[in-house]
């Protein structure tokens, strides 16, 4: 990665949107008045989102004025953290993980594709719709190789990629579509290819994990779930947390983007609630 410096091309004016202004002020209020520079990193993040994914020089000054701090201090922080872009980014900004797990799983090929399709790192594609950067671990190692693509719709992870699938995603994005996030090799989340092999209703009726453990470990192993036929959900050692009642409509549950991630654990008939995925009954039996 080259030295991170302010872009040569800068907009002639910069106007902070009302919503961003409001949000930054919310952060400023969290700190005592003489310590309001503590809100610097959230403020930089908000202002970067507001300015279209990067920080123009005028934005740095705007933050300096808002937080009553020297511009050089804002500049120091903005150049220190790689999450702040000082160069303009494309409408769709691709951050490709190049850390060891992704590299072992073929990130070099993705890199080749990106430089072929978009060009050099940190430069815009010809139509301005794409730009890319190799970054360090984004924490999705189990789904390596992966990229994060940020645009006005948000930040999305595209995982288990091959150059072909990534090219498809990029083509869709350039065409103005928003491809769904997630793995591209057919599996769900980071489950094994072919579906879950544990904590599955059918399977859990047949397996009692406790039986598999040596006696001495029965009392000490606490981090396991078992299926409770009475309440019809997997519980931790048979204990049900009353606060964690699932919403009856799995698609309305928060935090799972319309998909029911807990389907196999709590619903009466998990197969109906779960999204389609390939099932391999043989693997279930194998655990028996």
């Amino acid at each position: 990665m080259s030295a991170r410096r302010l872009s040569i091309i800068q907009p002639s004016s910069f106007e902070l949107s009302d919503s961003a202004n409001k949000e930054i002020n919310k952060w400023i209020k969290k700190y005592p008045k003489d310590r309001m520079r503590s809100a610097l990193i959230p403020a930089l993040w908000i202002i970067q989102k507001d300015a279209g994914g990067w920080l123009p020089e005028l934005a740095l000054r705007a933050i300096g004025d808002m937080l009553d701090m020297a511009y050089i201090r804002v500049y120091e922080v903005a150049t220190f953290y790689t999450m702040f872009n000082l160069q303009p980014v494309g409408v769709n900004y691709v951050q490709m993980c190049g850390t060891t797990p992704c590299w072992l799983r073929g990130s070099d090929e993705l890199k080749g594709l990106l430089s072929r399709k978009i060009g050099e790192q940190n430069t815009l594609s010809k139509d301005g719709k794409l730009s890319w950067l190799e970054v360090e671990c984004l924490g999705s190692c189990s789904n390596a190789p992966m990229v994060q693509i940020s645009n006005s719709a948000g930040d999305h992870y595209y995982e288990d990629l091959s150059p072909e699938s990534l090219e498809g995603i990029l083509d869709e994005l350039v065409a103005g579509k928003q491809p769904p996030q997630g793995p591209r090799n057919g599996r769900f989340s980071s489950e094994p290819i072919g579906g879950a092999i544990a904590l599955n209703k059918d399977l859990s009726n047949k397996i009692n994990i406790l039986d598999k453990l040596p006696d001495a470990e029965k009392d000490t192993k606490v981090n396991y779930y078992e299926w409770d036929p009475k309440v019809k959900r997997a519980t931790r050692r048979g204990w049900v947390d009353p606060k964690r009642k699932a919403n009856s409509d799995p698609k309305k549950r928060s935090g799972n983007l319309g998909r029911d991630l807990t389907a196999g654990l709590v619903d009466e008939d998990p197969d109906i609630a779960r999204p389609k995925r390939s099932t391999n009954t043989k693997s279930k039996k194998a655990g028996n």
Binding site: A3, E57, M69, A70, Y71, R73, F80
Partner: protein, 702 residues
């Protein structure tokens, strides 16, 4: 001092204060030498260079001795004090390792580097480094940054110690330098490479342990071992900073600070450091006489005879004014000459200041520069100490940073690098303060050691006495003046002023003060005016007067002069100077006077011969003996003559002038870089000055 801890350094047991860092303990108690780059005793501890590693026996890794205190050490298991080693194999290996890493990206520039010969990295690489490098890859390259006309940057050499960042932020009080990026890309820079605006920015050159920040005017001028050094006193303001003048072959090549913890600590202002190019420009190198409106070169005898002729007239029509850069000896000689001629119109206050005829405390910075750090409430009246006495301002800032003081200002609003309450701009606001019961009034009245700093800009007004009477009211209601403490501080901005006042270079009974002398010159009642380095006057009023100008630089005084007697600048003469707190100091000559110029006192001595009133001293020693005899306060070189009883001091002058003129205060210095003839002759200062003009000062002040 109860917290003493035992510590074993290199096999010997010592007892040191617990709050000492290991570095202090090793150096002060055990006398061991600890190399360092980032650590500086007047800056905060950064601990990022790792050069000061020592071994703590039992600890898995060597420890950075600058960042670990003795209190942090636990004793050994058997209860004996912790063992520190500064010369073991581990330490040697650690230092060699650190040095090797530092040198990975440091260019082998020493033959072309200005720091060569006085470089910490060079010295320490010799003492603590390995013999050869094992790093064969390319070194990193960093763009040089602009930091203004004073600081030259060669950023390849930077080792990221961040001393400059910490100095500018903590001492100078303007956050302008920062460390951008991280890791291999880390670079020292100013925001968008703007020039430094601090009046103390030159100090980063001294602080830089390598050659990354060097002096731009001095670039490629000389090697340190070629220079001859002489210790002297800075005259660019009244603080009296201790300086070292480095010269080679008769030319002053640079000026560096000398540590004096009572005055300038380790810093000097930019005008003290960079005025040296003014010492070789616009110099008066031979006597001149004006004939038919034009100056012509003259012989000394000729000029002195003409001057003597003009000075032997009616003493009531002769006057003498001394300027801001004069040494005590020349003022003493001039005073003795004038009293032998029976001239009473003499004044050393060319800015028209009206104080000085009372006891010594009435015109001194009584709390002393060190003492201002102990003051818990400071009221600044009609002054901008940042420009008038920058190093006093750093002391106030230091105290403010430590939370020891509260500051308020009555006068022009300005950026002082610390927070203060702006109480108003007029003298009556001081009266309001003395009547007030809340806010700063309360703080001031309850303070144990309050102090008032009154600027020169408040002491040359019609209503100066009124202002002093307000301060007197304030003093009566607070602890401003007690047996232990005198917080009444006059902030002079002229280096020669206190010496002049100490020897009472003032109009004697019935004599005229500066303002009147200028007025009478215009009307023709003063026929001959002797200016000893006085250039800050309304010269347009002196056209009809016969002006004898004695000084070093061709400035406004020389332009109007009818006779010019070339004198020596401060770098070329022996001189006694008294700083604003009354401390007497001696300056030594670094080079010879230019051309036919002479030391100032000797010119006056020669003139006295031409007048037939020979002054009773033939050399500077006998002149000094006479000075010490007549004015004993000069005799304690390096010290401040203490008053007998501070409680006896009354701020109010004996002669009370009731004039009231409640107009806002105006600060006397608006252009920091152009306050005297030497600075006005300097190209470097002119560049700084034009840079300041181009900044939007109103925006900067907000």
């Amino acid at each position: 001092m109860s917290n003493f801890r035992k510590i074993n350094i290199d096999g010997t047991e010592y007892e040191v204060p617990g709050e000492y860092t290991l570095m202090q303990a090793c150096e002060e108690a055990a006398g061991a030498e600890i190399p360092r780059f980032c650590y500086h005793e007047r800056l905060s501890v950064a601990g990022n260079c790792r050069m000061c590693l020592v071994e703590w026996v039992g600890a898995p890794k060597p420890q950075a001795s600058c960042a670990l205190t003795v209190n942090d050490l636990r004793p050994n298991r058997d209860g004996t004090p912790a063992n520190i080693r500064t010369n073991s194999d581990t330490v040697k290996k650690a230092r060699e390792g650190v040095m090797e890493f530092l040198l990975i990206n440091h260019p082998l520039d020493c033959p072309i580097c200005d720091q060569g010969g006085e470089c910490d990295l060079q010295d320490q690489a010799m003492a603590y480094g390995r013999d050869t490098a094992r790093f064969h890859e390319n070194k990193r390259a960093v763009d040089d940054k602009n930091m203004g006309p004073l600081v030259n940057t060669i950023m390849n050499r930077c080792i990221q110690c961040t001393r400059c960042v910490r100095f500018i932020t903590e001492v100078a009080g303007v956050e302008e330098i920062g460390l951008a990026s991280r890791g291999e890309d880390a670079e020292i820079t100013t925001y968008l490479e703007q020039s430094l605006s601090s009046e103390l920015s030159g100090n980063v050159i001294d602080l830089c342990p390598v050659g990354a920040l060097t002096s731009k005017p001095y670039a490629f001028n000389a090697r340190p071992w070629e220079l001859e050094s002489v210790e002297s006193v800075d005259l660019m303001d009244a603080v009296g900073s201790n300086i070292r003048i480095d010269s080679r072959a008769g030319a002053v090549l640079r000026i560096m600070p000398v540590i004096n913890d009572s005055i300038n600590e380790e810093w000097i202002t930019d005008k003290a450091r960079f005025n040296w190019d003014g010492l070789s420009r616009q110099r008066l190198d031979s006597p001149y006489i004006r004939e038919n409106g034009k100056l012509r070169v003259a012989k000394w005898d000729e000029a002195l005879s003409l001057a003597a002729e003009k000075l032997s007239g009616d003493p009531s029509k002769i006057a003498a004014i001394v300027g801001d850069l004069c040494d005590a000896e020349s003022m003493k000689a001039l005073k003795d000459l004038m009293s032998s001629l029976d001239v009473k119109n003499i004044d050393c206050r060319q800015d028209g200041m009206t104080i000085g005829s009372d006891q010594r405390e009435s015109y001194l910075f009584n709390s002393t520069i060190n003492g201002i750090e102990d003051s818990d409430a400071i009221l600044i009246i009609g002054s901008n100490p940042r420009l008038e006495a920058s190093l006093v301002n750093t002391r106030i800032r230091k105290s403010w940073l430590a939370g020891k003081t509260t500051i308020a200002l009555v006068g022009e609003f300005c950026d002082l690098t610390y927070d203060f309450e702006h109480l108003g701009t007029k003298p009556s606001d001081v009266l309001k303060l003395s009547k007030g019961k809340s806010g700063f009034s309360k703080i001031f009245k309850e303070a144990k050691r309050p102090s008032v700093i009154i600027g020169a800009g408040a002491l040359n007004r019609k209503d100066t006495n009124k202002i002093l009477s307000y301060i007197n009211i304030l003093a009566s209601k607070s602890n401003l003046i007690t047996d232990q403490w005198n917080g009444y501080n006059v902030l002079h901005n002229a280096a020669s002023r206190v010496a002049g006042l100490d020897m009472k270079f003032l109009p004697e009974d019935g004599g005229l003060c500066t303002k009147k002398i200028i007025e009478y010159s215009k009307s023709g009642d003063i026929e001959t005016l002797f200016l000893l380095g006085a250039d800050e006057l309304e010269m347009s009023n002196l056209n009809s007067t016969f002006v004898i100008y004695q000084g070093s630089h061709g400035d406004s005084g020389a332009h109007i002069a009818d006779i010019i007697l070339p004198g020596a600048s401060y770098a070329e003469k022996n001189g006694i100077y008294v700083n604003l707190e009354g401390r007497v100091q001696i300056g030594m000559p670094a080079v010879n006077p230019k051309g036919q110029a002479k030391e100032d006192w000797s010119i006056i001595r020669a003139l006295s011969g031409h007048l037939g009133k020979v002054l009773p001293y033939d050399n500077i020693d006998s002149l000094r003996s006479k000075l010490f005899q007549d004015h004993p306060s000069f005799s304690g070189i390096g010290y401040i003559a203490k008053p007998a009883n501070p409680k006896n001091f009354d701020v109010l002058p004996q002669k009370v002038n009731k004039a009231s003129d409640d107009v806002p205060f105006v600060n006397p210095i608006c252009d920091f870089y152009m306050t005297n003839p030497i600075l006005r002759s300097s190209n470097v200062m002119a560049e700084c000055s034009s840079l300041t003009d181009s900044l939007d000062m109103t925006e900067a002040a907000e």
